[in-house]
């Protein structure tokens, strides 16, 4: 497995220099495949022929070490369709490269990347569903978010939103019906889990086929909460109308983390500098969100594994309520904060400041004791361990193939955290650690989250120290940003932050107006959920439920 630890041999280091990537060397590597080169804000884009996708991508993966296909963006221009593969490296995500694949307007199709990166499977299905590009040699090109009987591709230019649609409600067929497994036990059984089911964490539908008690085939069916987030963002103005939507992607109190993803992308697109004071506040509040989000992840996971709505669940909620109070004091809302602004934050810390700091410190002081309690109740519990240790194992290799990020990747020993590897905000000035576990099982993922809560607490504490001493005449909360923001036309950017569930990225293309021409969301849960079939092959249903819980998906972000 040459990709697991890119040894620093020259082959995988093509174009790597002290100060960033040398794109000329990469272009040399690809030779005649590169038709043209584009300048994107985050990286260079190489334009290639639509029928050479597999060749180019596998060269880049095998020989240049681009092992992470973060996102696939599809869009329609006036004269062509275009798919962009955003590549980066797990080892150093600042090394980025976009592969731009144009395809003709009348019959848009290009070669699929799914044979190179497993994760491209779902990303391309989404591109087909929403924009309408056909991917040749794709293993299973079907609609993914919209119902299968949908007419038209909503993000393409000539889509008529008012046309009627018909959606069916029918029984799902057993995909292994005809597959007589063995002579004496020819039956497989189809089990529908969801979309209304207490263990699926929202409206996820898992189509499961059992052979005896073991899972023989499993497919997550998503799209039951596809609320057109990308369309909404493309209709909103940069300055004010987009910011409320990120709160509703990962709605488990991770609002500020999501807002930051948009803020970071748009600020880099429009060259806005954020005052340091605002960065500290952002960092502090974002980590509060992370704690709240991990608390709920733990609570619902315990709910799945223990199956009760009582003790452990309520402990999680109890701690969340405290964080939510802190965030409410800061932002005025319990869940949908809408607190960040391009160029800073909406307002300063609540007065009296000392009281607010004291509240935060009280919370931080109590936290170790509470975590101990949780460890007693959950991770130290024998039943819990039996359910979680060595179930739902995900290897490093699989993590990278599927582009899984966040606690899921770190639970499998993939040391990837954008807060450290692609620093933003105030993180690189603070003292904290990236948590990893080697196990790759359900237990490791839970441990990672619990230990990340401790690290987040450390970050918050340092931020509070900083804020307390911040000179009063230097508390600038927002940079000077014009009332209407019109980034230069045809600028493209892909930027990501470390959300609660992993790499939350946003691609924006500007067209000179005050609204983005294309707004694409790379959601960590979408990629993470793709690993579920791998994790649960051959396992029992209860283990699959545990795996699903430990992935900690939120459907608002999966479906967008």
């Amino acid at each position: 497995m040459s990709l697991e630890k890119p040894s620093r041999d020259t082959a995988l280091d093509v174009g790597v220099t002290e100060d960033g990537l040398d794109y000329d060397a990469l272009a040399d590597l690809l030779g005649g495949h590169v038709l043209d080169r584009e300048e994107h804000v985050n990286a260079e884009g190489f334009v290639i022929r639509p029928d050479e996708v597999q060749e180019v991508l596998s060269t880049l993966k095998e020989e240049a070490g681009f092992d992470h296909c973060a996102c696939v963006t599809a869009q329609e221009y006036d004269d062509r369709y275009e798919s962009i593969y955003h590549l980066r490296k797990f080892d150093d995500p600042t090394q980025e490269l976009s592969i731009v694949v144009p395809s003709p307007k009348d019959d848009p199709h290009n070669e699929s990347a799914a044979r190179v990166y497993d994760t491209a499977d779902w990303h391309e299905r989404e591109a087909y569903d929403l924009v309408g590009i056909d991917y040749d040699d794709h293993p299973d090109l079907r609609r993914i978010l919209l119902p299968e009987t949908w007419q038209g591709h909503p993000l393409s230019q000539d889509y008529n939103q008012d046309q009627p649609q018909i959606v069916s409600l029918r029984e799902h067929a057993n995909p292994l019906e005809d597959d007589k497994r063995s002579e004496d036990d020819p039956d497989t059984m189809f089990v529908n889990i969801g979309p209304h089911h207490p263990a699926t964490h929202g409206v996820l539908h898992v189509e499961t086929v059992l052979d005896g008690e073991q899972i023989a085939d499993l497919e997550p069916d998503i799209g039951y909460l596809h609320r057109c987030e990308e369309q909404m963002c493309q209709q909103g103005t940069y300055r004010h109308q987009i910011m409320p939507y990120p709160d509703r992607w990962d709605y488990i109190s991770a609002g500020i983390l999501n807002e930051w993803a948009y803020a970071r992308a748009a600020e880099d697109l429009a060259d806005i500098d954020v005052p340091e004071y605002a960065q500290v506040i952002r960092t502090m509040s974002a980590e509060m969100c992370r704690i709240a989000s991990h608390e709920l992840a733990l609570a619902t996971f315990a709910l799945d594994v223990f199956g009760d709505f009582t003790a452990v669940f309520q402990y999680g909620i109890r701690d969340r309520e405290i964080v939510q109070n802190l965030l409410e004091d800061l932002t005025g809302q319990r869940l949908m904060f809408n607190y960040l602004r391009l160029g800073g934050v909406a307002w300063d810390l609540p007065e009296p400041r000392e009281e607010y700091f004291e509240k935060i410190r009280d919370f931080l002081d109590d936290l170790p004791h509470k975590l101990e309690e949780v460890h007693d109740l959950v991770t130290g519990n024998e039943i819990f361990q039996m359910r979680c240790v060595d179930t739902g194992v995900l290897s490093k290799e699989q993590v990278k193939q599927y582009g899984a990020t966040g606690p899921v990747a770190r639970g499998s020993g993939v040391d990837y955290d954008l807060r450290r590897d692609d620093p933003y905000g105030y993180y690189d000035e603070l003292d904290w650690n990236v948590v990893t576990e080697e196990g790759g099982d359900n237990f490791s993922r839970v441990l990672v989250r619990l230990r990340e809560v401790e690290e987040s607490a450390r970050i918050i504490e340092q931020c509070v120290d900083l804020l307390e001493q911040w000179p009063e005449d230097d508390r600038e909360i927002q940079a000077n940003v014009p009332r209407t923001l019109r980034p230069d036309p045809d600028k493209e950017i892909y930027r990501s932050v470390e959300g609660a569930k992993g790499e939350l990225g946003i691609y924006i293309r500007s067209d000179g107006t005050d609204k983005p021409a294309r707004f694409k969301i790379r959601s960590p849960c979408f990629s993470n959920l793709q690993t579920l079939p791998e994790m649960s092959q051959g396992e029992y249903i209860p283990d699959m439920i545990a795996s699903l819980g430990s992935l900690d998906i939120v459907l608002g972000e999966v479906d967008r």
Binding site: G202, G223, Y224, M232
Partner: protein, 230 residues
């Protein structure tokens, strides 16, 4: 019975007497009981009594859709504790539930399933719609895939506005529902443009013709005429 009372000798008293102790057990003597005095009877209409009972003990369906369900969970859990108001226990199966709280955005793929879940609940059943999404589609009102409110699918008794409503608001909504039930008010009749029907029963048009090869005559479908949406 407090433990410092010396138990009477066993031979002397019957079991019943022993249970009674000194006089009537006062465990049941609530203030209410005292108020009734020597005639502990209430005269009421059967319907009225049933309505009061219905409103005072409601089983909620454990049903989450989107962001609002996070606040709904908080409403059930400690601190807000909806259970205090006689409507706590979430049931996982619609067949055991009296009330469905619809917490979130309903999209085209989910609406038929939600209708099915609603149909599975036994009568009498009540609906609380939570959040602006269930009133009009909320922030996603203009989305190509979003149903413009829960009332397009199922009848709604109480709307709780907000995005998301605070737990206090949801509790208020549930309390209002209980009040209405106790007073025997029936749910309003609403327009429900989207029904589950068999594909074969749909009026023939271009779209139906086009889909005829994909959908069986007997398959249940929901047809969205977005133009008629509010």
């Amino acid at each position: 019975m407090s433990s410092d009372q010396t138990p009477p000798a066993v031979e002397d008293v019957s079991t019943q007497e022993a249970r009674m102790g000194d006089g009537a057990d006062d465990r049941f003597n609530s203030t209410l009981r005292e108020a009734f005095g020597s005639t502990p009877f209430i005269l009421t209409k059967f319907d009225k009594f049933m309505n009061w009972v219905r409103g005072s003990s409601m089983f909620m369906l454990q049903f989450g859709i989107a962001c609002c369900s996070i606040e709904m969970i908080h409403t059930y859990a400690i601190k807000h504790d909806l259970d205090r108001f006689g409507s706590g226990v979430p049931r996982a199966s619609p067949r055991q539930a009296d009330v469905i709280i619809v917490p979130g955005t309903i999209v085209s793929k989910f609406a038929p399933r939600m209708k099915r879940v609603y149909d599975q609940m036994p009568e009498p059943k009540f609906v609380v719609s939570m959040g602006s999404c269930t009133i009009s589609g909320g922030p996603f009102q203009e989305g190509y895939n979003v149903i413009k409110g829960a009332e397009e699918i199922i009848p709604v008794d109480i709307h709780v506005p907000g995005c998301p409503p605070r737990p206090e608001a949801l509790i208020y909504g549930v309390a209002k529902l209980q009040e209405r039930i106790a007073e025997g008010e029936s749910s309003p009749v609403t327009v429900k443009p989207y029904e589950l029907e068999q594909f074969g029963d749909l009026e023939q048009d271009e779209l139906v013709d086009k889909l005829a090869s994909e959908i069986d005559e007997e398959d249940l479908v929901m047809r969205y005429n977005w133009n008629d949406s509010p």
